[in-house]
């Protein structure tokens, strides 16, 4: 793993006994001695600390916020101009056929936008913005780590370091001094739990992480539990549940596209693939991302083909993420099905080791979101 990038927390992961794996070009902790199952349950019941420094942190500046927001709205189909200062919003870059190039979080930081993008896409995202946006400057932040503190105890833990953390609502952003470091904090995450994402100067990252881990309710959590937590939370993983071939409407992410960018809105369209996405918003998409509960205990993972009937020859869809949900205590999955089959409560069949086993379509998320709105 010598050719892999190290995050600023690398030495801490090794000291904590993490099992390191390559992920998007980085050596990342997939689990700690606690194990994926306990790490998952720890995050749901108390709090977990994740190193997500592999993700891209990007600052986009221009004449003022309006100029930056206007430019970005030409690539992202969400309401960026209408985002209040110190607020964050989920979005995605689309391509000319309405597919998703990457999904992201962006925040109105007063005079600029702070964006967090997927590790595997960050180079392409930055090149995409630089090639297509005029009058703005796009800079990757490479001297800061990114931590996520997630779980019902996250507020109490972070408030002990700075009481202002408690007054933040879901999707608020703020600059907070934490353990002596100037941190860019958002109240958000990727677990379905309340929590924070914390951008911290690289040189102070280990000290902050150690301070957070010193709290009895906090344990370090690896990528393994991050995946099972986000799956239970019904959250998409780029490159699996969404990609350049899937549109936001197929991905059931309609909620992320505000009215002002939709048909009849003041700033309708004006983003790549708008014709496809606006038509799907109006008439519905041919396929939909759905939640699936396999019957029995056998997990059905990514790639499992789905059939309308147990003895059908032709698959109608496939699973894009699947595994065991430690909180649900059962296997869970997400996948794509033709719209006419995407009916809650309906049954489809997945082929697992030559057998066709039933799955029931269910609403997402699998575990109720626990956000402080």
């Amino acid at each position: 793993m010598s050719d892999l990038f190290h995050t600023p927390l690398h030495d801490l992961h090794l000291a904590l006994g993490a099992k390191m794996v390559p992920f998007a070009g980085y050596a990342m902790p997939v689990q700690y001695p606690m194990g994926v199952m306990q790490e998952h349950l720890q995050t749901r019941s108390k709090a977990g600390l994740f190193d997500v420094s592999h993700m891209g942190q990007v600052i986009i500046t221009g004449a003022d916020y309006q100029a930056v927001a206007t430019a970005l709205e030409s690539l992202i189909p969400i309401d960026i101009l209408g985002l209040d200062q110190d607020r964050q919003r989920y979005g995605f870059f689309t391509n000319d056929v309405g597919g998703i190039l990457d999904d992201l979080m962006l925040a109105n930081r007063g005079d600029h936008i702070f964006m967090v993008v997927n590790a595997g896409c960050k180079a392409d995202d930055i090149a995409h913005m630089k090639a297509n946006l005029n009058g703005v400057s796009v800079s990757e932040i490479t001297d800061r780590a990114l931590l996520a503190l997630q779980g019902p105890a996250a507020e109490a833990v972070l408030s002990a370091l700075n009481p202002k953390a408690a007054s933040m609502r879901f999707m608020d952003v703020a600059t907070l001094s934490l353990a002596g470091a100037e941190c860019w904090v958002s109240r958000s995450g990727y677990t379905g739990e309340d929590g924070y994402e914390i951008s911290v100067p690289a040189a102070q990252a280990i000290a902050l992480a150690q301070e957070l881990l010193a709290h009895p309710d906090v344990a370090p959590i690896g990528l393994g539990a991050r995946d099972s937590l986000r799956l239970e939370g019904g959250l998409c993983l780029y490159g699996h549940d969404i990609d350049a071939e899937t549109t936001p409407i197929q991905a059931s992410l309609n909620w992320a596209i505000q009215k002002v960018r939709r048909n009849g809105g003041d700033r309708m369209g004006g983003f790549p693939g708008a014709d496809v996405i606006l038509a799907e918003l109006k008439h519905g998409a041919a396929t939909k991302r759905v939640g699936l509960l396999p019957e029995g205990r056998a997990p059905m993972r990514e790639g499992v083909p789905l059939f309308a009937q147990a003895d059908d020859e032709t698959a109608i869809g496939k699973i894009t993420s699947g595994g065991f949900g430690p909180t649900v205590e059962a296997p869970i999955a997400m996948g794509y099905l033709p719209a006419e089959h995407a009916i809650e409560g309906a049954k489809v069949y997945g082929e697992l080791r030559g057998k066709r086993l039933p799955l029931t379509l269910t609403s997402l998320p699998f575990t109720p979101a626990n956000f402080k709105r």
């Binding site: 194990g35 998952h40 595994g323 065991f324 080791r353």
Partner: protein, 119 residues
């Protein structure tokens, strides 16, 4: 007790052999959430896939360590697959096999050889 390179243990009990996977294997696999066992009465040949183990992370196959007939499976694993993590060489056993050629056991590793394999 005998061991395979696939991290199975075999414990002869009279004319049958109890089979499971080692603690080293269950530690590597992580939390086991599902075990698919063969049907009693199945006749298996060495290296044939007989058990599927799903951990939180991934699915793995376990092959038959010797030729023989499956005479009993550990049904407790259906409700509590975590037994394989908690007590790998005890309550977490997978199946009992009646060897068709008991001499096959002789070619398997003893504990010392297995311990040096995983060292």
């Amino acid at each position: 007790m005998k061991f395979t390179e696939e991290h199975e243990w075999l414990r002869p009990e009279g004319d049958i052999v109890v089979v499971g996977i080692t603690e080293h294997a269950t530690t590597q696999l992580g939390d086991i959430v599902f075990v698919e066992l063969p049907e009693v009465g199945t006749v298996v040949t060495k290296d044939e896939e007989v058990v599927v183990i799903e951990s939180v992370k991934a699915a793995s196959d376990i092959t038959a360590p010797i030729d023989g007939e499956i005479v009993e499976v550990n049904t407790a694993l259906a409700d509590n697959p975590g037994l394989a993590n908690e007590d790998a060489v005890g309550a977490g056993w997978f199946f009992k096999i009646k060897p068709s050629d008991p001499s096959q056991l002789d070619s398997l590793m003893d504990e010392a050889a297995y311990n040096s394999l995983i060292a």
